[in-house]
């Protein structure tokens, strides 16, 4: 249920975002979701791709610093209160959300949020038992 996310270190300078993106494009790797966490001096580009192992190898061999992290793709109702329902399911669990971002796709009135938990396995359990759908990589990328 967990999905492999790639994070890439990029200095906060013009052109530094395009190098890894161009590399993925040249290797036919489609970026399905991304977010950029930025500070004044540098950023962390986090992205989801269908073939994370291939992307990892390509980026590493070009000398990029890349880290893989397990994240969860959670389906929420695309209406007011949808996110609150997910957060409510985690209350009292002592689970910590490190960060969350929205994937630019959804289906059937549902939106998809990408969560990074401190303990993803425990989070899957809590979400499932509250009747919330956690998508697999296959479901997310449609294969």
């Amino acid at each position: 249920m967990k999905i492999m996310q790639l994070s890439i270190f990029a200095e906060n300078k013009p052109g530094h975002l395009s190098a890894p993106c161009r590399l993925l494009a040249e290797n036919g790797i489609d970026i399905r979701a991304l977010t950029l966490a930025d500070t004044q001096r540098y950023g962390i580009l986090r992205l989801l791709v269908k073939e994370p192992d291939k992307a990892l190898a390509v980026l590493k061999s070009a000398g990029h610093v890349v880290k893989t992290t397990e994240v969860l793709a959670v389906e929420v109702a695309d209406q007011p209160g949808g996110l609150v329902k997910v957060l409510a399911a985690l209350e009292g669990s002592s689970l910590n959300i490190e960060y969350v971002y929205a994937a630019p796709f959804g289906r059937g009135g549902k939106a998809v949020l990408i969560f990074r938990f401190d303990d993803p396995d425990k989070a899957v359990g809590h979400l499932r038992s509250a009747g919330i759908t956690v998508l697999s990589g296959g479901e997310l990328f449609g294969s």
Partner: protein, 439 residues
């Protein structure tokens, strides 16, 4: 780690000459080289005369301290050939330093000098356990820099198969290392660290290769770097010391005891001095290393101030070599930075980075002046080992480095994380300090 057995190599015989004979040989050679320099180098003759000294006044080893020093400035002032003691037709080789500012310094070798250089490099490799049949990847830069050709002649001299790959093109280095069955490598320690990182990225496990010996020099490196190298590879790492002004690599090397570097004293006469007063210090005390070449004819160096801070190790080495040892170079006297009146050595920053990150990342110290106040920034290349997908973790890492540096030097400085391969490297040597305070 693969223990290299200390096998006696015939080329090492002069390393074991009984100490009294070695002292006598040193002094004979010293007198001859001082006479040669006096006869042929105007600057030296002039300085001896100013002191009322002639070569004949050199009656015993104690008289060495009366002779004038030679400094790097002397080499610059007499650029290019002013300190040569042999006519150019007898000089078979010239090398030059990679001068970053102004003119480089030029050094010269007669055929005999090249032979001496080869012999000390052969003895260096022998001490590191190399022999016929080894396949040596020489990743020191070939060219005006002495590292490449010095190691090349030595490796050929010991009968190894030499791959003169020179520096750079890391992916090709790794391919050659793997495909040619390389057993030993020569390069700067920071370049080898880079090679290790790159091999990891390419999925090459260096532990599965026959690579067993590394001879690393041309810049100071630390015990922690050795530990790191020897834990992630099967390489037995040796520190080699040398400088172009004296001969190039091959002035001194560690034996398998790794308790100091044996100086090839039959060719290089070492002294340790107080860098302030110039007074000679006894063995065991730390000071500036001063070297006199005992058998270099094209360009003898009398009491050359190396600016390297070390000490001569008292006592004898269990390996049996009678050659005295010097401690590994931790810092150079001209490395010292003065920031807001505080003395700072790059090696202090390096020690902190090693401690915090567990391995030495590439870094650079950038000095600037804002509103009349010195500012110090340490730029650190992010490595896979410390990178995190969380901003908080990276901020905490910078903060931890800032705090640790403050504990050591007493100044709060700025730490900036930068992308890999963005800090400049030259000849494989790391350029540690960028001083922009005067511009």
């Amino acid at each position: 780690m693969n223990e290299t057995q200390p096998v006696f190599h015939p080329a090492s015989a002069p390393d074991f000459v009984p100490a009294p004979l070695l002292r006598a040989l040193q002094f004979d050679r010293l007198r001859a080289i001082v006479q040669h320099a006096y006869d042929h180098v105007e600057l030296f003759r002039q300085r001896m005369r100013e002191r009322g000294l002639a070569p004949a006044d050199l009656r015993g080893p104690a008289d060495v301290a009366r002779m004038p020093f030679t400094t790097k400035t002397d080499l610059r002032d007499t650029y290019p050939f002013g300190l040569f003691a042999s006519p150019l037709r007898d000089v078979v080789r010239l090398h030059a330093s990679s001068g970053t500012t102004g003119k480089p310094i030029v050094v010269a070798y007669t055929r005999e000098d090249v032979d001496v250089w080869t012999s000390v490099m052969v003895r260096s490799f022998a001490a590191a356990g190399l022999h016929e049949g080894d396949i040596v990847q020489n990743a020191y830069g070939y060219g005006l820099f002495t590292g490449g050709l010095g190691a090349h002649y030595g490796a050929e001299g010991i009968g190894a198969t030499v791959i003169p790959i020179s520096g750079g093109n890391t992916d090709r280095q790794i391919m050659v290392m793997k495909d040619f069955g390389v057993t030993a490598i020569c390069c700067t320690p920071t370049y080898f660290l880079h090679l290790i990182d790159r091999a990891g990225q390419l999925g090459v496990d260096l532990k599965k290769l026959p690579l067993r010996v590394g001879v690393f020099g041309a810049e100071p490196w630390t015990h922690s770097m050795r530990r790191h190298i020897e834990s992630v590879t099967n390489v037995h790492a040796f520190d080699i010391y040398g400088l172009s002004e004296i001969i190039g690599p091959g002035v001194a090397i560690e034996c398998s005891q790794h308790d100091g570097l044996h100086i090839f004293e039959d060719h290089f006469y070492p002294e340790i001095i107080d860098p302030e007063s110039g007074r000679v210090l006894p063995d065991g005390e730390e000071g500036e290393l001063v070297l006199t070449t005992l058998s270099k004819w094209a360009m003898p160096m009398i009491r050359y101030r190396t600016r390297d801070i070390t000490a001569l190790v008292p006592g004898t080495c269990p390996c049996g070599r009678t050659l005295r040892r010097m401690r590994r170079i931790g810092r150079r006297s001209d490395d010292m930075l003065i920031i807001r009146g505080v003395n700072v050595y790059p090696s202090q920053i390096e020690a902190v980075l090693l401690e915090v990150e567990g391995t030495l990342p590439h870094y650079q110290i950038v000095l600037t002046r804002e509103h009349g106040l010195d500012q110090m920034e340490v730029q650190v290349e992010v490595t896979a080992a410390v990178f995190s997908d969380r901003v908080g973790a990276l901020e905490a890492l910078s903060e931890k480095i800032v705090d640790a540096i403050e504990r050591v030097i007493g100044i709060r400085i700025k730490v900036t994380l930068v992308e890999p391969q963005t800090i400049g490297r030259s000849e494989g040597k790391a350029k540690r300090v960028l001083d922009r305070r005067s511009t």
